[in-house]
């Protein structure tokens, strides 16, 4: 693909990302100041969890609700405190806001819908319930969120650099495939920490599980996805390199795939 075309595509997706980020902000306030998250388990939280979460995640948060057996990917088992989408470093617990964001935004390409259908009060009420399923939250606190470095612009040079990282330095293609379809040679062997087969993400769909903005994608490279084979590259890559990789994987989105 010619760099010019690549740039046009990235431009388009950045615009889309900005729009979706704006939309997301309107449905899901992301900061603690916007929502008041309770620290204790409440009756409302228990009821909300029982009615809307336990059918998949199970009454005790083990990811074994009655609907779970026919689902792939499997609903998250909360007992290990391993949360994929965080602003905190690899291995850390998530912040309450991270959990709130996933509840409100949902996880694309999974049965975890955006639960914006519930009131804000209901959504925050389940956070202490989820945390109560894992001892980790009793003995540890989440680390401070990672610092998001100054974003780069998606220039031709940044994309070329990102491509190099994807293809040579980190060999992301081994799992995610050369074209980013999640079909690399090692794709079939991947397993998550719970022993379930896990598919490397297909970038062409454009439905990034942790959010579609460039910052969301950048965060995945920086924090990794706990409980999955996707590590953090905070050490291996500089801040700048992570931005380059971000723009490169976003350039792999295929508009025709996103319409499905």
């Amino acid at each position: 693909m010619k760099p010019k075309v690549l740039l046009d595509k990235v431009g388009f997706w950045c615009a889309t990302a900005v729009t979706s980020a704006a939309l997301m902000l309107s449905i899901a306030p992301m900061t603690a100041s916007a929502v008041n998250i309770p620290t204790e388990v409440t009756e409302l939280g228990k009821d909300t969890y029982k009615k809307y979460c336990s059918p998949c995640h199970g009454e005790e948060g083990k990811g074994d609700g009655p609907l779970a057996r026919s689902m792939l990917p499997k609903p998250r088992d909360f007992t290990r405190g391993a949360y994929k989408f965080r602003t905190t470093p690899s291995g850390s617990l998530p912040t309450d806001e991270d959990i709130y964001r996933t509840i409100s935004y949902g996880v694309p390409n999974s049965t975890m819908i955006p639960w914006d259908i519930l009131t804000e009060e209901q959504r925050v009420s389940v956070i202490p319930v989820l945390k109560s399923f894992s001892e980790a939250f009793e003995v540890r606190k989440p680390d401070a969120p990672v610092t998001v470095g100054l974003p780069l612009r998606p220039t031709e040079r940044a994309l070329t650099e990102g491509k190099k990282i994807y293809e040579e330095k980190l060999e992301c293609w081994k799992c995610h495939g050369v074209e980013g379809r999640g079909d690399g040679p090692s794709a079939a062997e991947q397993e998550d920490d719970f022993g379930f087969p896990i598919k490397p993400f297909d970038f062409t769909t454009g439905k990034f599980k942790g959010g579609n903005s460039a910052q969301d994608v950048y965060l995945r490279f920086t924090t990794g996805l706990n409980g999955t084979p996707m590590p953090s590259f905070a050490k291996e890559l500089t801040d700048e390199e992570r931005w380059c990789l971000t723009y490169y994987v976003m350039s792999l989105i295929k508009p025709e795939e996103t319409k499905k």
Partner: protein
């Protein structure tokens, strides 16, 4: 200028909507009802929702339904899932979330829907025209028919399994055509669940612990309320419903080998050889024989009504009615002469030459004439009639042998010494003389089911429920003769499949007949020997 432009746009929009409203006077259509015209007791046992509490039909109190029945007969038995309360999605009409979740939970369903006319009801000129008709009729704009439209019961705020009534809200002409199946009575599709559960042996088998053994019955006979039997979920394709394969999951096997007889006939073989040339996207009324179809399909012949018109049900032209009902046009020696023996709930004998049936035959000839000469087609169909007369005559002779044996007291074990007719206690309790017919009702009342029942239609129980010594060997033989081999011969002949006509039909009918003769001779001989030894 800008304001002027906006004003112009607004007034144009207003005008359009006024014009639309003026063109579409709100019509009050009666809502589609699958049980329209049926007596009240009928609704009470087939339509009113009871969930899993009781069964269907007059004998509903004798068995609890199996859970699958909620999918087979949603009106009667559907209960929303308990695991996840969907009411919040319905209350807030969050259509987007249906797809978001089910795209992953049940991706096949969503992909089917995405490729269906429901997702894109205006994707082709043909679909657009049909959609425009529906829009006009329903006074709605239809750019997408969504999960929500069919599956959300907005009154009860729960998920529903759509029945034909839901489809009929938009597809009213097709629904009304389907409803017309009642005009010709059973066997038909719309009363197939009734046929399944009104028969006493269904409830008796369930009572005796064989409910799940009747799974095979339920799968076909569940076609009564739903359209996805022919137009499978969630494409609901008209083209799919026009293919012979749409019929064959039910229309096969020993009592109606339609798949086998059509499939291996010259018609069927040509279809299989050249199916890629068949244009199933064309409505039946626009099919050009020889160009769009080189041979007929089940639908092309059976859904042809008359005078170039097609109807959205395949039973209207049926004359021989699946071959089970004896014709009026024969002299019978057995009690078939008294068929239907005063029973009110089954159809009378068929007069093949009644005004109505002669007219139906001419409509058949209209179809055949697309490719065959009138004389050839007429001769062929007359030979089918003759085949049936001969087959019914043979059945009559066989029935006479069995009945004489019974009358002379040689049936062994005798009806008094074996299990009674299925659910005899229930028949006496649940049905009335007015409903069932005086003579049969009285027989059940006085003899408590301890009497032999042979031949069409109630004698077929032995095909569905075998109890202690009931029916006996010779009765089973006769059942095979008239219910299997006669019907197989009928289908083989009607669908022009020589092997089915002979080796599955005429030949085993004759073999079974001689077996019945020799079994009767043996029983008589043994009976006589027993009598002699008892008198000594």
């Amino acid at each position: 200028m800008k304001k002027f432009g906006i004003g112009l746009c607004l007034s144009a929009m207003l005008f359009t909507s006024v014009a639309w409203a003026a063109e579409q006077p709100p019509k009050k259509e009666t809502p589609p009802d699958l049980y329209e015209g049926t007596p009240d007791w009928y609704r009470a046992v087939y339509k009113d929702n009871v969930g899993m509490k009781e069964g269907s039909g007059p004998f509903k109190d004798y068995f609890k339904p199996q859970m699958l029945d909620m999918y087979w007969q949603p009106n009667r038995h559907y209960e929303p899932m308990k695991n996840l309360d969907h009411s919040i999605f319905i209350e807030k009409e969050r259509r987007d979330l249906c797809v978001t979740c089910h795209e992953e939970a049940t991706p096949g369903v969503v992909r089917d829907w995405r490729s269906s006319g429901h997702k894109n009801p205006k994707s082709t000129p043909y679909l657009s025209a049909r959609t425009a008709e529906i829009e006009k009729r329903t006074n709605r704009i239809l750019n997408e028919v969504h999960c929500f439209d069919c599956h959300a019961d907005t009154k009860k705020k729960q998920i529903r399994m759509p029945t034909g009534e839901v489809c009929g809200e938009c597809h009213r002409p097709q629904f009304d055509d389907f409803l017309r199946e009642r005009e010709v009575g059973r066997p038909n599709h719309i009363q197939s669940w009734e046929a399944n559960t009104i028969v006493p042996w269904y409830a008796e088998a369930a009572r005796r612990g064989y409910l799940y053994g009747q799974h095979g019955c339920d799968l076909c006979h569940s076609g009564a309320e739903k359209c996805d039997v022919c137009h499978t979920r969630h494409k609901f394709s008209a083209a799919e419903g026009r293919q012979p394969e749409a019929c064959i999951t039910c229309h096969m096997g020993p009592d109606h080998p339609d798949a086998e007889s059509y499939g291996e006939s010259k018609h069927g073989v040509i279809y299989h050889k050249e199916e890629e040339h068949f244009d199933f996207n064309r409505p039946l009324s626009e099919v050009r024989p020889g160009k769009d179809y080189r041979t007929p399909t089940c639908q092309f012949c059976h859904m042809y009504e008359k005078h170039g018109r097609f109807i959205h049900n395949p039973v209207m032209k049926g004359i021989w009615r699946m071959g089970t009902i004896p014709p009026k046009n024969l002299e019978y020696t057995s009690s078939l002469k008294d068929y239907p023996y005063g029973i009110k709930i089954i159809g009378d004998k068929i007069d093949i030459y009644s005004e109505e049936n002669v007219a139906k035959r001419s409509y058949w000839l209209e179809v055949c004439a697309k490719c065959h000469s009138d004389r050839f087609a007429d001769t062929y169909l007359k030979s089918l009639d003759e085949f049936m007369f001969q087959a019914h005559t043979l059945a009559d002779r066989a029935q006479k042998i069995v009945e004489d044996l019974i009358a002379d007291g040689y049936l062994y074990p005798s009806a008094a010494d074996r299990d009674p007719y299925p659910l005899s206690d229930g028949i006496e309790k649940q049905l009335s003389p007015a409903f069932l017919g005086e003579p049969i009702y009285n027989a059940f009342k006085t003899l408590k089911g301890k009497f032999p029942v042979v031949g069409p239609i109630l004698g077929v129980y032995g095909m569905f429920l075998q109890q202690q010594d009931n029916p006996s060997n010779i009765e089973n033989m006769y059942n095979r003769l008239w219910f299997w081999y006669k019907l197989q011969g009928y289908k083989g002949t009607a669908h022009v499949q020589q092997d089915v006509s002979w080796w599955w039909g005429q030949a085993p009918m004759m073999m079974e007949f001689t077996k019945i003769q020799s079994e009767a001779a043996r029983l008589r001989r043994e009976g006589r020997i027993e009598k002699v030894s008892l008198t000594k």
